[in-house]
Symmetry: C2
Subunit: 223 residues, 2 copies
DNA sequence: GTCTGTGAAGCTCTTCACAGCG
DNA sequence: CGCTGTGAAGAGCTTCACAGAC
């Protein structure tokens, strides 16, 4: 019991990993309210999952709870950091310094969660060399070199669709394995790499669909 | 065969609905390339799903395909619009005209997909009355009235965490049932309402987790 | 032969329900 | 009593594999 890592033989569900982020957000809010311990019931209600699911998720990684006090808020938050690998700061780089890219450069949430936006790139020669929100914008020509020098682990994509796949391929060749893509364009990544899509229109379409359905015609409505 | 709507008794999986957006994005790219028909194999490869899954998803809504020519690209795209309800333009409103809010106001993808950002709100009195990216910014005091007047169906949340829940509750009372939330804050919506979260940090944490795992320790890696 | 649409099987995820602890 | 952690059951999702169409 009280193990820290994963159980040796268990596969980990990505659904579980996604919920860990949700739990941690709630834990941080509880921590700000100076709450030290929380039961599965309360944390589940805050995050919109069932208590059983919360306990099952945590059980994937061992025992977290103290039976009658519940879970230690700060300790569980720290454990989630270790599990997802954000207990040490990771360098990000951004491709595309348009409206969205600049908004991302101004976003303070990255640092709070252990991510540092270390560099930005843009294909527009007029932007290269300028500074946006305190970050130097590099030419795309410098992509490989800057990635290596700064040890960039994750590339955030917010450029025009043109050249997107090329940026991915070059970054992957330079050692980047993870991509966070805001650009609504079909892409592919090499084996061993991961790409997460943030597709605003897709989310809106999902909402549009949901708003037209009777509740009992839809399965798996979360939250 | 060739039915347009859903099969009367079938429940629809939200996973399927999310993939419909993916399929449509690929169909639009094929359409731009003047391709008229596509087989499940090719469309599946473009979107990173299995051909069986694609056919199963489509089968939820009836028959789409012509056996040896495959699927009619433009017709299938139009059918997906009807299914998700974006065949008619829907009005959105935005709460929060900070960096992210302004980036969203400049984003052209909404109109292409049948959404119109009809109004913006901000709690900052200095912003109320000003115009951002061609849209008038209203005071939060006008929330209910503007929502009713413009028949806003979906509210996009990009404000500060303070006042977020209040904005949701007031909008819901004024008839908004769908929310797209960019703000990293625990929220809740009344019964019958839906909220979709866009949590950039959660996506990064997922990538961070994935990059540290051996492939065989993770289940359900999509794409 | 190749294609779609689909019953059936296999797999994963969620929920139930309770043993064991405090 | 109420709590966590977990085996077992249930529900849902994906894949297989093939009938029927071309």
């Amino acid at each position: 019991m009280a193990s820290i890592g994963t159980k040796r033989d268990a596969k980990i569900s990505l659904n579980t990993v996604e919920r860990l982020s949700l739990y941690r957000r709630a834990l941080e809010e509880l921590s700000h309210e100076k709450i030290q311990y929380v039961h599965s019931h309360r944390l589940a209600a805050l995050t919109g999952v069932t208590p059983a699911q919360l306990r099952r998720d945590l059980a994937t990684f061992g025992s977290f709870g103290n039976i009658s006090r519940g879970y230690d808020v700060r300790q569980m938050s720290a454990t989630i950091s270790r599990i997802v690998g954000t207990d040490e700061v990771q360098n990000l780089a951004l491709v595309g310094v348009g409206h969205l890219g600049r908004a991302l450069l101004s976003y303070k949430g990255f640092e709070e969660r252990g991510f540092h936006v270390a560099a930005a790139f843009d294909a527009d020669p007029d932007k290269a060399g300028r500074v946006f929100a305190g970050r130097r914008c590099y030419s795309m020509d410098d992509l490989e070199e800057v990635i290596s020098t700064l040890n960039v682990r994750i590339l955030v994509l917010a450029s025009h669709p043109q050249g997107l796949q090329d940026a991915i391929d070059r970054a992957a060749a330079a050692g980047v394995r993870c991509f966070l893509n805001f650009v609504p364009k079909i892409t592919s990544v090499p084996d061993g790499c991961f790409i997460e899509q943030i597709d605003i229109s897709a989310k809106l379409e999902k909402l549009s669909f949901l708003s037209r359905q009777k509740v009992d015609q839809v399965s798996a409505v979360r939250r």
